[in-house]
């Protein structure tokens, strides 16, 4: 009996993704370690994404500052722009925007790469040749996304703040030192640490969804496109869900 109602398909997807994630969690710490492949993936996923992430971060900081200015001037708290922009970037905009761009770039590339490998039966061939394809392909990629996204977010935050500094100086003159002091005066560990920790989960989600979608791609070139597409969509949605969970947990723990 085949039950193909959309809810059932959705539940089946969730169940299979969870199982895939569980498989990763039980596999990644066991030998043998594919270190070379991990470092290569880190280079591709992390380093190669930096220009894109940096650009979007810079523009976000600049635009946010310029958009905030009229309202802040209305309220007479123009001097608080660095503090507000700093908090917004560090707490929310930096991690989420970076993760979304990351999902768009990396999620799709992983989904397409693994999907095409699956379609061309390279994964099966790998298994035959004695290499554990899950370890070689999936574990290295998920670990790479998990550890690279936080680094990217930190760099992106920095570039965003620099963009915000330039944004403040378009209409006003604020020395870099004053801007720097104002930003850090308003920040606390409660702002930085939850935001930093949640980026690990964002990275993990992007890697997991990309790998799952690619690993379980349907046969044919259509399947490759579909898995690339759906990995971006699902990981983006998942980023927001994780963000929601993160803010609720930090609120519950009193870190907010």
């Amino acid at each position: 009996m085949k039950n193909t109602s959309s809810i059932n398909i959705f539940l089946k997807e969730v169940g299979e993704t969870s199982g895939f994630g569980w498989r990763f969690l039980t596999q990644w710490f066991r030998p043998r370690y594919e270190i070379k492949e991990f470092i290569k993936q880190c280079y591709i996923i992390g380093y190669k994404s930096l220009p894109l992430i940096g650009l979007t971060g810079f523009i976000m900081g600049l635009v946010l500052t310029m958009q905030l200015r009229p309202t802040m001037v209305d309220y007479g708290v123009e001097s608080q722009i660095p503090a507000i922009v700093g908090i917004a970037i560090i707490r929310e905009i930096g991690p989420v925007i970076t993760a979304l761009i990351f999902a768009g770039k990396i999620g799709s590339s992983i989904g397409a790469e693994l999907g095409s490998m699956k379609v061309t039966e390279q994964i099966d061939a790998m298994e035959v040749s004695g290499t554990n394809p899950f370890k070689y392909l999936v574990v290295s990629r998920i670990l790479a996304t998990t550890f690279m996204l936080p680094v990217l977010v930190i760099l992106s935050d920095t570039i965003s703040l620099y963009g915000a500094y330039l944004g403040v100086n378009i209409r006003n003159v604020t020395s870099f030192q004053l801007f720097w002091i104002q930003v850090f005066d308003s920040l606390s560990f409660n702002d930085v640490l939850p935001a930093f920790i949640k980026t690990y989960f964002f990275g993990f989600a992007v890697g997991l969804i990309g790998c799952y979608k690619g690993y379980n791609s349907n046969k044919g070139t259509e399947g490759v496109g579909k898995s690339a597409n759906s990995s971006v969509v699902v990981s983006s949605v998942l980023i927001f869900i994780i963000d929601l969970l993160a803010v609720q947990i930090t609120d519950l723990l009193g870190f907010n």
């Binding site: 470092i39 680094v151 930190i154 005066d185």
Partner: protein, 326 residues
């Protein structure tokens, strides 16, 4: 091979830069929150901390010197604020500095303000409890302000009424418009001026007089200052006193004398007593007086007989003639 090496270098730089930035970020925040470096703790107790939280700034005369570490409840009327203070101010901050909770600006964060007091004291040490000052509650302030506003409104109303009355009063305006008044006032003031000058002179004189008196010049001065005179006066007073005593004695003697006289009279001795008290004598005297009357009558008859006597007639006629001449 070389290609892979460079890739790894790039990756390493990428990761390290990310980590360095993260560490820098955490360090900056930590430094702002006084988590690194050397600090010491100070405490202060308040009835109401007005929403002060851990992490709020502590200021000493306007300079950030630390943060609030913890706000504890000791009992229902006492809260304790524990502060982390930079060790740099350890030899500046004193035990008698006053701690208060204020607001950064009008609507900003709460801050702890430490104000130095200009009296000598020891330097504050680890875990000292500094004296606190009850800060101004904005609520109370606004309430007072509203009351003040009402009062001011009332005062303004009264002032308006008063001014209206003043404006409507013609007498005042004529008084104000009368130009002679000012002249009169001028004159009066000039007189007052001269009077005050006179008073000045008088007071100066009085001053010199009092000075003289102090020095012992003049009668009053002598009275006050001269010891010899006072001795004389004392003697005089003593004499007067003695005289009084003598007079008293005399009067008592007199009294005794009178008493004696009284008893003598009453007891029937002497002429006076006989005169006053003996009725027999009175009769005798009466008889004697009658006899004298009779004797004088006989004498008168004898005299008349003499007038008509020839021997003495000439003498009486001469006497009559000289009386008529006069």
């Amino acid at each position: 091979m070389k290609n892979i090496f460079f890739k790894n270098v790039k990756l390493g730089v990428f990761v390290l830069s990310g980590l360095l930035l993260l560490i820098l970020l955490l360090y900056m925040i930590g430094r702002n929150r006084n988590m690194f470096g050397s600090n010491f703790n100070l405490r202060a107790r308040f009835e109401n901390v007005q929403g002060l939280k851990a992490g709020n700034n502590v200021r000493f005369s306007g300079i950030d010197i630390g943060t609030v570490k913890e706000v504890k409840i000791i009992n229902d009327t006492l809260m304790e604020v524990e502060m982390i203070i930079d060790k740099k101010v350890k030899n500046i901050l004193k035990k008698n500095a006053i701690v208060s909770i204020t607001t950064d600006g009008l609507v900003g964060n709460k801050i702890v303000n430490i104000t130095a007091v200009k009296s000598p004291s020891l330097y504050a040490e680890e875990n000292d409890i500094l004296p606190s000052k009850k800060s101004i509650d904005t609520d109370v302030m606004l309430r007072t302000l509203s009351k003040t506003n009402n009062d001011i409104a009332e005062i303004a109303n009264n002032l308006k009424l008063t001014i209206n009355k003043l404006n409507s009063s013609e007498g005042l305006w004529t008084l104000l418009n009368d130009k002679t008044i000012s002249k009169n006032i001028d004159n009066a003031l000039a007189e007052v001026n001269s009077a005050s000058n006179n008073i000045n002179n008088i007071s100066r004189d009085i001053r010199t007089i009092t000075k003289d008196i102090k020095k012992g010049k003049g009668t009053i001065g002598k009275l006050i200052r001269d010891t010899l005179l006072s001795k004389t006066i004392e003697e005089a007073v003593n004499n007067i006193k003695n005289a009084g005593v003598n007079i008293l004695k005399l009067s008592s003697d007199l009294d005794n004398t009178v008493l004696n006289i009284d008893t003598i009279i009453n007891n029937g001795e002497g002429t006076v007593h006989a005169l006053m008290k003996d009725s027999g004598i009175v009769i005798k005297i009466n008889k004697s007086l009658d006899n004298i009357q009779e004797g004088s009558k006989g004498f008168s008859d004898n005299m008349n007989a003499l007038k008509h006597n020839i021997l003495f007639r000439g003498y009486f006629r001469k006497l009559e003639k000289s009386r008529q001449k006069q």
